[in-house]
Structure formats: structure tokens, C-alpha cells
Amino acid sequence: MDTALRALEYWLLSYKRTWRGTIVSSFLVPFLYLAAMGFGLGSFINAGAGRAALGGQTYLQFIAPGLLAATAMQTAAFESSYPVMGSWKWIKTYYAMLATPLRVSDVLIGHLLFVAFRVLMTSMVYLVVITVFGAVSSPWGVLAIVAGLLTGLSVATPTFALAVRSERDTVFSMYFRFAILPMFLFSGAFFPVSQLPVVVQPIAYATPLWHGVHLARMFTEGTLSPGWIAVNVGYLCLWIAAGTWWAARAFRRRLVT
């Protein structure tokens, strides 16, 4: 573990150059989303029949935890795509690390820890903003950060594998368009999945994001169900375990030749 932390140190050092910009955007993005959708769009929904469909809460309260989880996913997907590919293909940071006592597993875990750190930061900022907007109605809401972290890692780990297996970065434009964006829109962050056609609902329920959104929403609303928590956490951990296994295999194949 100590050796993986050495690899993490590299990522933190290179983040020092850009952190100011990312902090500003991580406050600005939730602010804009909540202002536009929570208040703008929400004023329509709350006035109409929508409020009943959302279980009596305001639209702002409904989307705030959804946005937190969805943003955690986006942050994780981005941090695990180009930076990971660049580390073996362009900048070759991974190779430089592997010439030292660090092992392939250290290189992978160190970088994953950094992505976890970024997701955690983003989720915390989000939580602060939605709390200020009055969208958190329970002290359990603090645990939405954990939901964000698990969602982020469930997406980060398979994205690591993809970024190491693929020969070219063109794969990412497909990945973001056909996997991340649809997941962002249709996994229950903006409207209940029950509003979708019955045939596509199982796909939405199978996404890690739906479980992350559901988990975060339970926490911010304070409507905790131990059974659902077990299902959501368990399912996300399954993705993380499978994704880590796949990423580890891809790392060994790419880096040990």
C-alpha cells in the first residue's frame, strides 16, 4: 500500500498546477444546474402534476442528489479516460514509474486513489451547494458523498480498463456519447425511471448510476431503507470489483510485455 501511495503522490503533485480551475468549476457547475433545473424547470413541475409523481417533494429536492451522483460519474469517467491513456501512450508516466520499485498494481491503485480523491472533492462541493439551496432534508445527507464516491469508482474502474486496452483516443468520443451521456440522462437523476417505456426500464436499473442516484436520494431525503442500501451499495461494489479486476488485467497486458 505504501508503494501505491507513492504513485498517488505523483498525481497530487501534477494536480497542484490545475486545482484552482477545477475548484471553481466544481462550484459553478452545480450552481448552474440547480438554478436552471431546480428553480427554472422546477417551477413548472412543482406547479403541475409532477409534484405528486415525485412523492410530494420539490423538483429541486428530487434532482439535487441525482445531480450529485451523476456529476461524480462524469468526473470519474473523465479523469479515468484521457489521463489514463496519456499515461501509457503519450506522457508514459506509467513506464517511468515501472522502472522504479513500483509494481503494476501500485501504478493502477495509485491512479485510482487519485480519481477517488477527485470524485470525493467534487461530491463534497456538490453537497455544500445543494445544502445551501435547501435540497437536503436530513442529516443523513452527509452520506451522499459516499454514494458519489461509490458511483464514481464503479465507472472509473471499467473506464481505466478501456483506456488501457484501446489503441486510440477516438474510443472516448464514442464512450462519452453512447455510454456516459445516456446514463447521465436516463438513470433516474432527472426523472423517475418509472416514466420510461417499460422495455427500457431494466437497462436503466442495471446502470451503476441508477443505484448511485437511488442511494444518494435516500440519504438526502432521510428515507433510509436498509434493504435498498444493501442492494445499492452491493451492486456498486460489484461493479467496482469487476472493474478493478478488468483494469488490472488490462494494465498487465499493456505494461508487462
Binding site: L13, A99, P101
Partner: protein, 307 residues
């Protein structure tokens, strides 16, 4: 005292392609050892196996008395690697590149701060300590890579084509540093396809071609064994070389015809040159020189271009 690096029947296969075909190598403490050969000869694959980043396909390899398959991290802790492509982080500063690399070895920050300063002085980059690597010249990046490889005070330094792509000033500066390291007792293992580099630096070297070792020894041994002491280069008018080569063939141990000149490999260059004149051939250009490793190299690995 055994060899620091000991390879027996060392082989590297990629699917059906054999990059290194069962070589035997011993590198001893304090020497400068070179792998020479054209592109694709298997030099870099050999270096990667020695650097414990590429698994051995078959044969045995011991580095610092340990097996890379078992003790990779422990061996790498005592190696300094200067890869062909540098692998520097261009957005970090010169100093940051050294510090973070030292952290990979688990060295304490305080030790590293002092060592970075020493190493930057050693490679003459003190003025550039806080510059971004992206702003450095090719030669400076190379020196930084050498400094970085020294951050853990390695016993063996692996240099893959240390001066490829550098201008003459930068090359000589790198050579000076390497010679100084050798004097300090660091064992250097390098690959190169520059013969002057091998002659300047190497105590012992092997010539590789097609994954095998085709010759081994000190630069002088190799010249003695595979070339004559001197070479006479005769420049004739284009198109006449072949005919004239026949007329001077008896003056040399071996004759080679190139597009623009004829090479006479001989023990006594001046005598051969005089004989050429006495026969009234008087080529427009005539040069007597000592044989170099380049002659050996071309003889052993051929003049055919390998890409």
C-alpha cells in the same frame, strides 16, 4: 565476485517473433558494457529484461544476484534507468521531476531536496531547476533523464541509446558525465548504434544482430579480430569502382566496393596506398585511416538496411 548481470540462454519471444534468441552475457562491477547492433537486433528487449520490466521468455537471468521474476522491485530499487524516450513529465518543473521520481523509491523528501540540487549541478541544469521541462532542449532533457536515473544512487545504470538525436556538443557533455560516473564506480550498461560512442565509452561490448550475439570483446579486440589495422579509402570516378577493385584486390586482405569508393582493409595502409599510386591508378581521392568499430559493425551486421 560474480557478475552483476548474468544471462544464460536469455530469450525473449513476442508470440512467434523471437526478439532475443538465447544470449549469454556477463557484466562485471565497475565496467562500461555496450550492446551494439542495428535497429531490431534485440538490444532494447535485452535491456528491458535486465531492467526487470519485461519477463524473460526462457533462459536464466540474474541481476545483482537476484531473479527478476521474483525480486523485480528489489532489483529495480538499485538500478538507474535512462530510457530512450526520456519519459519526463513536461508540465512539471525540472526539480519536481527529480523529486517525484525519488519518491517512487521511497526516499525521504529532505534527502531528496539535497540530492536534487547535487544532481542538477552534476548535469549542469542548476539554472533550469524551476523551468518547465517542456521548455528544455533535447540535450537538457537527456541530461535531466540521466540525473533522474541517479536519484537512488544506483549500482547499475541502464542507458538505452543515451545520445541518439543529440547535437555534438550535447553528446560530448553526456559522454563526459558518463565517464565521470564510471570513475565513481557505477556500472554502466548501454545500447547504441553509434560506433564512436561505443569506442569512446565501452570497456567491453557485444554486437547483436537478429537477436543473437555475433561478436564480443573490447573495442580493440573486436577491431583486431574482425577488421584489419588500417583501411585505405579510394575514391574513383563513379562507375569505375568495380573494374578498379579487381586491379587492387591483391593489395589488401579484403576489398569492399561501395557506390562512391573502394575500401582496402590492410595491415599497412601507407604501403597499400603507395602501391596503388605505383600502378598508375591515381584515384582522385585517397585516405588512409585506422580501422574503427564501424568497420567491424558493418562487416558483422551487413550494409543492408534494417527497419
Amino acid at each position: 565476485m560474480g557478475a552483476l548481470i548474468e544471462a544464460r540462454g536469455l530469450t525473449k519471444r513476442f508470440d512467434s517473433f523471437v526478439a532475443v534468441a538465447g544470449i549469454d552475457v556477463d557484466v562485471f562491477r565497475g565496467e562500461v558494457f555496450g550492446f551494439l547492433g542495428p535497429n531490431g537486433a534485440g538490444k532494447s528487449s535485452t535491456m528491458r529484461m535486465i531492467g526487470c520490466v519485461s519477463p524473460v521468455s526462457s533462459g536464466t537471468l540474474r541481476v545483482l544476484g537476484m531473479d527478476p521474476a521474483v525480486d523485480g522491485p528489489r532489483i529495480r530499487a538499485r538500478l538507474g534507468v535512462c530510457p530512450q524516450e526520456n519519459w519526463l513529465d513536461e508540465e512539471l518543473t525540472v526539480r519536481e521531476n527529480l523529486l517525484i521520481y525519488g519518491r517512487y523509491f521511497g526516499l525521504p523528501r529532505r534527502t531528496l531536496a539535497d540530492r536534487a540540487a547535487e544532481l542538477l549541478a552534476f548535469v549542469q541544469l542548476t539554472d533550469k531547476a524551476d523551468a518547465q521541462v517542456a521548455d528544455l532542449s533535447g540535450g537538457m532533457k537527456r541530461r535531466l533523464t540521466i540525473a533522474r536515473a541517479l536519484v537512488n544512487e544506483p549500482e547499475i545504470m541502464l542507458l538505452d541509446e543515451p545520445t541518439t538525436g543529440l547535437d555534438p556538443q550535447a553528446r560530448h557533455l553526456v559522454w563526459d558525465r558518463l565517464i565521470q560516473l564510471r570513475q565513481e564506480g557505477v556500472t554502466l550498461v548501454l545500447t547504441t548504434h553509434y560506433m564512436d560512442e561505443a569506442e569512446q565509452l565501452c570497456d567491453r561490448l557485444v554486437v547483436m544482430d537478429g537477436g543473437t550475439i555475433v561478436a564480443e570483446g573490447s573495442p580493440l579486440d573486436l577491431i583486431r579480430a574482425h577488421a584489419t589495422r588500417e583501411v585505405v579509402e579510394l575514391r574513383f570516378v563513379a562507375g569505375r569502382q568495380q573494374a578498379l577493385a579487381a586491379e587492387v584486390a591483391d593489395l589488401a586482405d579484403r576489398v569492399e566496393v561501395l557506390p562512391d569508393r573502394v575500401l582496402l582493409y590492410t595491415q599497412d595502409g601507407d604501403a597499400a596506398a603507395n602501391a596503388v599510386h605505383q600502378r598508375g591508378l591515381s584515384p582522385p581521392g585517397i585516405l588512409v585511416r585506422r580501422s574503427s568499430l564501424e568497420d567491424v559493425f558493418l562487416r558483422l551486421t551487413g550494409r543492408t538496411l534494417v527497419d
